[in-house]
Each structure stands twice: as C-alpha cells, then as structure tokens.
C-alpha cells in the first residue's frame, strides 16, 4: 500500500512535469500580440491557409520588453502592437527585419506612417491620447492640450504611466511636440504636474480612477476610451483633443526570419490587411477593434468619428523613437516620482 501511494505520487509529479514542459509545436507561426483581436485573427488565418498560428497575448510594454530581452534569439515570428515609435526603438537595436511591403490602397494617413526601410507595416491606427469625462461632470470640456494646465483642471486630470503602458509614450511625445518639442516641451508637462496631474499604471486603472471619482478627466488611448464609453459606462464621453496624435498599430518581423517562416509571416500580414481580416478585427475584438483602417478597402466601426472631423497630427517615429529612453527616464524622475 505504501509503495503504491509513493509510486502514485511519483507518477503524478512526472505527469504534471511532462504536461508543463511538453514542447510547443514548432510548426507554423508564433505571434506576439498586444491587440485583443489577435487570437481571432490567428484562428481565421489558420482556417484560411492551414498554417497554424500560436498567438501569445501580452501587454504592449511586456511585449516590447520581451522582444528586447530575447534579442537575437527570437522565439517569435510576428509582433503586432501599438506604436511606430516602439517599432523604431526595436529597429535601432537591430532586432527587426527590413523591406516589408506596405499594404495596397493606402490612405494618405497610412502613407504618412510608412518607415523608409520597411521595418514595420502599419495595419491601422488609434489616437495616442484622448480626453474622457463623465457626461454629468461640471468640468468645462477641454479642447486643446494647453487647456489642461488651466486652474479648472487642478488635481482632476489623470494619465497612464508611459513606463508601464506601452501606448502612452506616443501620447506623451505628442504633448511634448505640441509644447515645442524635446526638451522644450518639458515645461508644459511640468506645468501639468504642478496643476496636480495624477499618473496611473494603464488605461484600465486610469479609467477606473475616473469612474470612482479620484479624477474627473482621463487621458487614455482612443480605443480604450471609446470601448469604455460604448460598452462599459454610458455616462462617459470621449473628447478628441486638437490636435489628436495618431498611434499606428504595426506588424514587425524579427531580423533573420527566412524561408517558409518568412513567407508565412508575409501571408499573415496580407491577411491582416485584407477586407476579410479587417472585418474580423472589427467584429471579434474588444477595445482594440475601435481603430481606423489605413487602407481604402475598409471603414472604421460606427462609434468612431469621421477622420475629417478630427485635427490629426503624426509624430516623426524615427525621431521620437530615438528619444524614448531619455524622455521616459525624465518623466519617471520628474513627473511620476518613481523614477529610479
């Protein structure tokens, strides 16, 4: 009996270890994705082409850090996330393949996002920072970034921490650019801090702070804002600032990808841009489905305003990508207070 129980325990441990350590199939593509429609896209792509796709969902910050840590021994075949500046940072570290073909029938906004070396492919865009308020709020709705430094907004504005929330760096870069660039724009951010700017970890935390009354105005990514206002709390309203900074979602491939894996990855990019792929992204996703396409072959979801009503601005991804480290270090030290 004793030996039976001891043997049973041993077998159980071996089985658990085998299940935990069983190697994943190497066939097909490994997709690191920070966009919530990626699993549905992976399934649809497999259904259409027969190529298996293992989708690994990560937050944008974790995804970028993971790609950086893996360095020149990547375990991924495709990366899909928000932020051309982040893609430029990865490219400058020598981690990305070049020469990716841009989608066909690009819109003018889409064309403005193309990198010179084909290091990434824009697949759509959201806005890096929009304002979210309660409809019942007595706070005057701001229209420009400059308004936020005014006395009515003292202590009631919150934003994400750009060190934790990947898509927030472009929003910060946009604010800096609007205020004169880097380093001139520091003064504006410091003025916001002096006016009581609060910093939370990510979109969800900032929106939670808005809903529980800790703040009265949240600066978050447009997809999270529209999703919250349409599906979570109908008392919320989204205000599009002037200007609103474009945040492309991009696909990147690792340097050194070749042969069949490269062909399959390029087939996936083409599928992501196809009308069928865009339909899946818009209908199977949650917050990330609220994006504007960059090709003329597809239209955005109805909850999004027409682009002609917005004052759009783009960031020079190469320039702001190169500055990311110093800007984030300064923000962590001077604004967040948790800087190390």
């Amino acid at each position: 009996m004793r030996r039976l129980i001891a043997a049973g325990f041993g077998v159980a441990i071996i089985v658990i270890a085998a299940v935990l350590l069983w190697p994943a199939s190497t066939a097909g593509l490994v997709l690191y994705a920070a966009l919530d429609y990626a699993p549905a896209m992976g399934k649809a792509f497999t259904k259409k082409t027969g190529i298996p796709v293992r989708v690994i969902r990560l937050s944008t910050g974790a995804l970028l850090a993971r790609i950086t840590a893996e360095g020149h021994h990547p375990d991924w075949d495709i990366g899909w996330f928000d932020g051309a500046t982040a893609a430029v940072s990865l490219d400058q570290a020598g981690l990305l393949a070049h020469g990716l073909r841009p989608p066909v029938q690009l819109t003018a906004t889409g064309r403005s996002m193309l990198p010179p070396d084909g290091a990434y492919v824009p697949t759509g865009f959201t806005l890096a920072g929009v304002f979210v308020m309660n409809k019942s709020s007595t706070l005057p709705p701001p229209t420009t970034w400059d308004d936020l430094a005014a006395p009515p907004y003292h202590g009631v504005v919150g934003m994400n921490d750009p060190a934790i929330s990947g898509p927030t760096y472009p929003a910060l870069a946009g604010m800096l650019k609007h205020a004169g660039g880097w380093p001139q724009g520091k003064g504006f951010i410091t003025a916001l801090k002096a006016n009581g700017l609060q910093v939370f970890a990510k979109n969800d935390a900032t929106l939670a702070a808005l809903r529980n009354g800790t703040i009265k105005l949240a600066i978050v990514q447009s997809s999270a804002a529209v999703n919250a206002a349409n599906n979570i709390d109908h008392d919320l309203t989204v205000i599009y600032p002037r200007p609103a900074y474009v945040l492309p979602n991009v696909i990147v491939l690792p340097k050194g990808l070749h042969g069949r894996a490269l062909r399959e990855a390029k087939a996936f990019i083409a599928f992501a841009e196809s009308p069928a792929g865009q339909a899946i992204r818009k209908h199977e996703g949650e917050g990330d489905s609220y994006y504007w396409p960059v090709t003329a072959r597809s239209a955005p979801r109805h909850a999004l305003p027409a682009l002609t009503t917005l004052d759009l601005a783009t960031l020079d991804a190469t320039r702001w990508g190169a500055r990311e480290k110093s800007v984030l270090a300064w923000f962590a030290h001077a604004i967040d207070g948790a800087g190390s």
Binding site: A6, I16, L58, T68, A201, D204, T214, K325
Partner: protein, 518 residues
Amino acid sequence: MKFGAAGLRAAIMAGLIATFFVYPLVRLLVMPFLSGHGAAGNWPAFVVSLLLSVGTAIIAAPLGAVFALFTTMAEGPVARAATLTLWGLFLTPSYMLTTGWMIIFSSHALRATLAGQAFFGVGGLLMLYVVKALPFSALVARATLAAADSAPAEAAAIHGVPFILRVRIGLRLLAPSIAVGFAIAVIETMQEFGIPATLGVTSHVPILTYAIYQHLAETPTDFAGASILCWRLIAVAAVFGGLAMACRRQGAAIQHGRMRPPARQRPTLRRELAFAALTGLFALVGIVIPVVALFVRALQPLAASMPHAGAVLRSLGFGMVGATMSLGVAVLILRLRAAGARRMIAVLDVALVANMAVPGLVLGAGYIVAFNNDFLPLYGSRLLLLIGYTAGMAPLALRMMQGALDDLDPNLVAAARLHGLPRLTRLVDIEGMLLIRPFTYAYLLVAAAIMFELPVSELLYPPGATPLGVAIVTLDQMSDYAASARLALFGLAAMAGLALVLAAGVTLLAAPRRLRPA
C-alpha cells in the same frame, strides 16, 4: 569506492550550482564593467529603499523580540495564537496582503481621507513592510532565545534581584537577538518585491527592487543599469548580513548537557491582555482585514470573462514539480554532507549561503542575461522558470530537511541492510516513514512559496504561461481587483486542497501495519 561515488555526486552538484547560480550571477554583475555604464544616476530608489528598510527594522526588531520573548517564555492560548499569527504573516504573500488593503482604499471616499492619503504613500509602504518583517525578526530572535539557559533567571529569583535590574539584565541578554532581528528585517525589506510591485507602483514611491524590475522588463530595457542596482542590493545584504553574523557571535550561548531552557509560565492577566491586543492588531492588519477584503471583492461581478483563469492550476503544477526538485536537491546535498566529501561540501555550503543572500529578482535577472544564447537558449522556456524556482527554493528546503535527516540514525539503515532488507524496503518503509512528516511539511511550504512566487516569475515566465503571482499583480495594475481577488482566493483554495490530499496520503502511508496473527 564509496568516497569516490560521493565525490562524483558532489562534483555534479557543484557543476549544477556553478551553471545555475554562479555563472548567471557573474554574467549579470560584470555587465557594468564591460559596457562602461556609468553608475551616476538611479540613487533615489536606493536611498528611499534603504531609509524605508532601516525605518521598518527599527519598528519590527523590538516588536519581534517581544513576540519572541512571549512565545518562548509564556504558555496559554495567547502565546499559541501569537505563534500562529507569526506563521500566518510569514506565509501570506506580500502582494496578496497589499491587494487586500488596496481594495479597501480603492473607493474614492476612503482614498481621499487622511488614512487613504497616508496609505498611498510612504506610510502605507512602512505599515506593510513592518507587517512582513515582523515574523522574520521574531523567528530569528526565537532561535536565539531557544538556546537560553534558565540559570540567570533562577539566580535572580534566589537573590531577590529587583525587577528593574532583572529587566536591564534581560535586555542586555536579548540585545544581540534584537540586533540580528534588525539586520534580517533590513535585508528582507530591502529585497521585498511584492509590495513595491503593487502599492509602490500606485503610490509612485521609488523602490530599488521595482527599479531593477523596470530596467529589465519595461521599455526601454537596460541590463547594465539593472546590474548596478543589483550590486547595491547585494551590498546592503552583505553589510547587514555581516552585522547579523557578528551579533550572533556576540550573543553565542554555551551549550552544555546541564543547561535547562527556562520553564514556560502563564503570564499575569494584564500582560496577557496587552499581548493579546498586540497579536490581534497584527493578525487584523496582516491577515484578517486583507483576506476579508479579498473575499468581499471576489463576490462582485467581473467586467468580462475571468482573465488568466489557467494561472492557478499552472502555478500549482509549477509548485508541485518545483518543490519536488528543490527537496530532491536538498536531500542530495544533505546526503553528500553525510557521506563526507569535505571540499565539495565546503563549496556547496558557501554557494548555499550566497544563494540565500541573493534575492530571486537578481537571480532571475542573471538568468535572462546568461541563458539567452546559442549554447544554452533556455530563456523564455518553462524549464528555465522551474530551474529558477528550484535554485531559489533549494536553500529553504535544505534548512527544513536538515534536522530531520540529521536525526536519522545511520545504524538503522545499516541494521536493515544486515537483515537483508531490499533497498526499496529500506527506502520506503524505514527512511521514508521516518521522514514523511517533515518532508510533507517542507514540501507544502516550498510548493506554496513557488506557487505564489513573484520576482522570478515576473522575469522568467514564458509568454502564454502566466504564473499566478504575475497574473494577480497585472490585474492589480489594471485596477481589476475583483478578478485579482478571485485568482488569489482560488490559489489559496488550490493550495489548501493540495495540503488536504497530502495530509490524507501521509495518514495512509504512516499508518502502522496491522499485526498479523502468528
């Protein structure tokens, strides 16, 4: 031949330690020298962490000594409750404790109060640090007091020494253990990661361990910068570890056969009530209030489907396999020690002491640097995560199994061999039965520690296989407290289930066989 086999096993073990402990640490720590990375910046996190750690230790060390004194000298329900409270505080994962308190202060009304503002600042960090440091200080002081002799107290009673003088003498005797408790509290607080990863992020107080994590796992990554911070963390551990060792030597007690430990006595009612209040305060702050908050929030509906639902079973599996590996390594090392491969044992002992001084965060950082190459491309695999857990927990497993294995009389096994009992019978029916209870106790403790482990998990988890601790902290950062509370409670329930199953297994295994009729 016997020595040769033991020597070979020791050499293999030393090789494993060199590969999975020394090599990654060296790779990490030489980075600043190779990259020429300047160490000018990054001081605020170090200074704040050191001040908080010293502040915590100033509060926790005397309190720990009081707890140690009471639980060693007193008898009765309050003393037993105090011991249980200390173990409860020791075992509660720090991020779970913090999550409970953050749930309480997540309402705007409470957050806006003075208490809320204090909680989301240095005050909250200090409170939680003290709660987590108390058991370390108390358990270390208890170990010192356990070696005390009753002779001084008896002599004082016989000679009618006044109370004040007795207290002064007692304090002088207790001083070394308070000092050791202080040093341990500083080291533990300095190396704490769960509290900074939850409350530290929200309150924007710069903390060294989280700064290291930020350098490694957030963009832009900076491994050389992380290495510099690791040097500072290790330097503090070395300084205060040295202090602790010096204090231990200062307070060394002479152990002899006629020594008698002081008899436990029922304290006066006034003292018992005072201590009951102190115990109740720590039990409330460190266990009851956070757990109740988790329960209440877990009952609230979720915004969407349960995220990271697979994390509980996955981490339970990691805990079970990791505990088996850790205890296996521990038993092997203890066997080698018994076999007497002296030089290798000295190497192993140094490595084990060093391993205990190196926090999991530093070890995990070393693994990222060391195992992402063409020769050992283990980074991003579940195997490396398991190895990381094992390397981190083996010293704990070794300490827990050491006493039990030392008590095992080698003559017993020799007698069994002389009587011709097969190896399996000796192993299962004799050694196994004698070790089953301490082994189960150690197994459960190590499995729980791995299941709720955070720093190594954060740095080494493979994409798509989020461990429980990472899932809970991620949900905390998204303010999704309902989901994080559910995950935490499911995790505790799963661990309780494992404990019940193992307890039932031990009962069945250790039950005496029925006597057969002659």
